[in-house]
Amino acid sequence: MSETVAPVTGVQKGRRGLERAVIRFAGDSGDGMQLTGEQFTTETAWAGNDLATLPNFPAEIRAPAGTLFGVSSFQLQFGSQRVYTPGDRLDCLVAMNPAALKVHLADLRPGGLLIVNTAAFEKRNLDKAGYAQNPLDDSTLAERYRLHAVDMSGLTLEALKDLSLSANEKERCKNFFALGLVSWIYTRPLESTLDWINKKFAKNAVVADANTRALKAGHAFGETAEFFAESYEIEAADMPAGLYRAMTGNRALAWGLLAAAQRSELPVVYGAYPITPASSVLEELALHKRFRIRTIQAEDEIAAATAAIGAAFGGAVGVTCSSGPGIALKGEAIGLAVTAELPLVIFDIQRGGPSTGLPTKTEQADLMQALYGRNSESPVVVLAPATPGDCFYVAYEAVRIAIKYMVPVMVLSDGFLANGSEPWLIPDLAALPPIEVKFRTEKEGFFPYLRDPATLSRPWVKPGTPGLEHRIGGIEKQDVTGNISYDPENHDHMVRTRAEKVRRVGQEIPPTSINGPATGDLLVVGWGSTYGAITAAVERAQAEGKSVAAVHLRHLNPLPPDLGHILREYRKILVPEINSGQLVRVLRAEYLVDAVGFNRVRGLPLASDEIGDAIEQLLRSQR
């Protein structure tokens, strides 16, 4: 088989899906961190999670404010299965002042969520914490962690501005703002805290009101600022040697495009309209003009897609990006790229739907939209990254295939990958396959739809090339000449040709790698961000001596040429997805196999335990 980008094997060993989180609230001893932690613990117990806590406060009864030894903290670990310890490495650190940041930052894992109260980062506090410079002023924190710098004091004062309390008293409610915010992020119910406030301050209605408002303001802030919680959890063991950096999925998509721009020596025109969780790709690319990345914040998703198509017509790499609702709007334009046979890359960062749905939650329910969500016979290539860092390779591969086959390529990422961060082995650029760009310039024998015999792609001609002036468009055209044609046989031929061109992308797919025995009782087939959870579940089953293997699909259209054969090597097939059964339908239709779905659509990643249970069940069933 021909060249392909680094497969998802190897690097990912030891990765687990998020089934637990370790959170630490840290602040000055006067900041009420113990109370905040306790309330969060109650909310978590209400949510039905197992948990373990670790309060930690200064020995001094009244330690001086703002100092390192005056820092107080509360840590807890919670999870959907048994939790035995408060945890070691933090997934989330809330630092209410510079001293808290200084003391606790080392425990936060790279890529973890870091929330700081910017209001406390002023000269006096920085001095006391021993910071010569404000650590929020340079980009180091933002690069290593998912930093959210929030003026919690200011926002709290604003929320309470009409209450008859002193500014000091109002400011002290900021711990409830922090609690509300973190409760939003981890989907904790607020009821228990609201109850507590009402009881505790039954005799002081103003204070009860103030704390309630601060709590709700923090919660609302999380919602409007669209904070994402789910992220990757990595076990430090068995990681391959090399140079690492923290990488989120959206940044990896952006950097994959930068690599493709540099390798292809073409400008990239990136059209997008802001939407959660896709916007950060646009924002990241806008930083990198030196790579000849030209970002257009378009008036809507249709314009974003069509601008990218216009750019592709002009000989640039056209890329557009959105989430499900925006991809729906782009449908007609993608059809134009299908029939005009222009390269176009479309990123879909899936989120919960339908309609606005759950903007900050993850889902895998756009697979059918990617495969079939356009009018008529309108096939496109569909790829899906498995981890945040894998987004880099998939973005690069999408550009390479789009250009080589003159075809639209859709990449299905999701909110989990987009915002998730992982320690990422920095890629070996020399190992990336070249992106070959051949603009046709010779006049002799030119026709707009003359096809390359191996790829069936038509010639890419840049306007400005003398003697090759031609017209293309959305109307059906005669093969080879590209002239408008309403001939029935020609249309049938073109429908088949466009499909065959996509099918030939199968030439690019390396042999499918199987995690486990090549034949056995059960095969788990997955795609996209469920990779970690599936791998963990399958490896656990293998460790228990079960005859279980896993295959994770990066290519969803066309499917790997060897997949049909692999599926027949197992007695049962399980397809876990965060949708109500989309890939499983495709596999059943395509291969006539009795594949069974495992489906949960909660806006959350699947947990490896529940996949493990599904494996067990299916192994035991008579089916």
Partner: protein, 342 residues
């Protein structure tokens, strides 16, 4: 980096024929689009641009078939989206001379949003909006420029919505060149095509076009000899706004902030309204005028300069590269916070 300048020195001598494609033209016999096509083809040699650097982009509609008939690069796209396609093309290829051909439905109904934004951004493209006040291709439903009460197949007892005025719309969107011409006034159309194409930034030209099948003589006010004599107001930069027959000339004057019609001979020359293409306030007033109460302005309403979207974007890119060098992915990957695992 003017497209008009690019390669002008080496431009071959063209004739109209060089811009005629080999495709059969499929408009209804008698359609106003023929005259426009002919005028556009005739105007091409005067651009002084090698024809491989010229691109026609269109949406969907009778009018939007236009690119097939031009022997240049062309892209017949989807309904309403030509301005967005053209924007992407210009960002990728600012060196090209790009025309957008659209209709009143394509450009002001389904594509109204894109029209707004291409004008606001002042992308360097020339937009030809064929306004026949009807949906031609879909066989005669009313359009957003059809008059209130228009009886069509989809509005058997009259349309209920008021029309949009393309010129007022364009000016409201911040257009930097706004003009109007008429398919049956060939010399005027020639001149307006030349003016619109020469403009740097978005050139918006409304062409009053006859759909003889579904909306015949919708623009009779400027076709019929007698009516034209009464109503056509030729806008000429630096000239007073005069119209009407020679023996009964009328003048357009301002009374406060309201345009009024007076007998030309009744006003002193100093009180005449002298047309100024640089005056957007005046252009907005003129754009709203129409028969029967007012004359119908024909010509260039406004022609001003403003920053061009792709110029600004590409200047940012040039500066970034000049200051910090071309991007290098290898450097970027290892920049910032990294750590080793052995």
């Amino acid at each position: 980096m003017s497209a008009t300048g690019a390669g002008a020195a080496a431009t071959p001598r063209y004739t109209k024929k060089d811009f005629e494609s080999d495709q059969d033209v499929r408009w209804c016999p008698g359609c106003g689009d023929y005259a426009i096509l002919s005028a556009v083809q005739k105007s091409m040699p005067d651009l002084g641009i090698p024809k491989e650097n010229i691109v026609f982009i269109s949406g969907i509609g009778c009018s939007s078939r236009f690119p097939y008939y031009m022997n240049t690069y062309g892209f017949h796209t989807i309904h309403g989206r030509a301005p967005a396609i053209a924007t992407g093309l210009k960002v990728a290829r600012p060196d090209l001379k790009v025309f957008v051909v659209t209709g009143d439905g394509d450009g002001l109904s389904i594509g109204g949003n894109h029209m707004l934004h291409v004008l606001r951004r002042n992308v360097d493209v020339t937009i030809l909006l064929f306004n026949n006040r009807i949906y031609g291709l879909t066989k005669g439903q009313y359009s957003p420029t059809s008059e209130l009460g228009k009886v069509t197949k989809s509005t058997p007892i009259g349309s209920a919505d008021r029309p949009v005025n393309p010129l007022s719309f364009a000016l409201g969107c911040g257009a930097t060149f706004v003009g109007r011409t008429v398919d049956r006034n060939i010399p005027h159309m020639d001149e307006m095509l030349r003016r619109a194409a020469a403009h740097r930034g978005t050139g918006f030209l409304e062409i009053l076009q006859n759909c003889n099948v579904y909306n015949h003589l919708a623009w009779n006010v400027v076709y019929d000899k007698a009516s034209k004599l009464q109503h056509e107001l030729r806008l000429e930069h630096g000239k007073p706004l005069l119209f009407g027959p020679p023996d009964d000339r009328r003048a357009l004057v301002m009374e406060g902030v309201t345009p009024r019609i007076v007998r030309a001979k009744d006003v002193p020359e100093s009180a005449l309204w002298v047309h100024d293409e640089k005056n957007l306030n005046a252009a907005r007033l003129l754009a709203d005028l129409f028969a029967p109460d007012f004359p119908v302005p024909i010509g260039v309403l406004a022609d001003i300069e403003a920053p061009i979207y792709e110029d600004v974007l590409l200047e940012q890119e040039r500066r970034a590269i000049a200051e910090r060098g071309a991007g290098d992915i290898a450097k970027l990957l290892t920049s910032g916070d990294t750590w080793k695992i052995d």
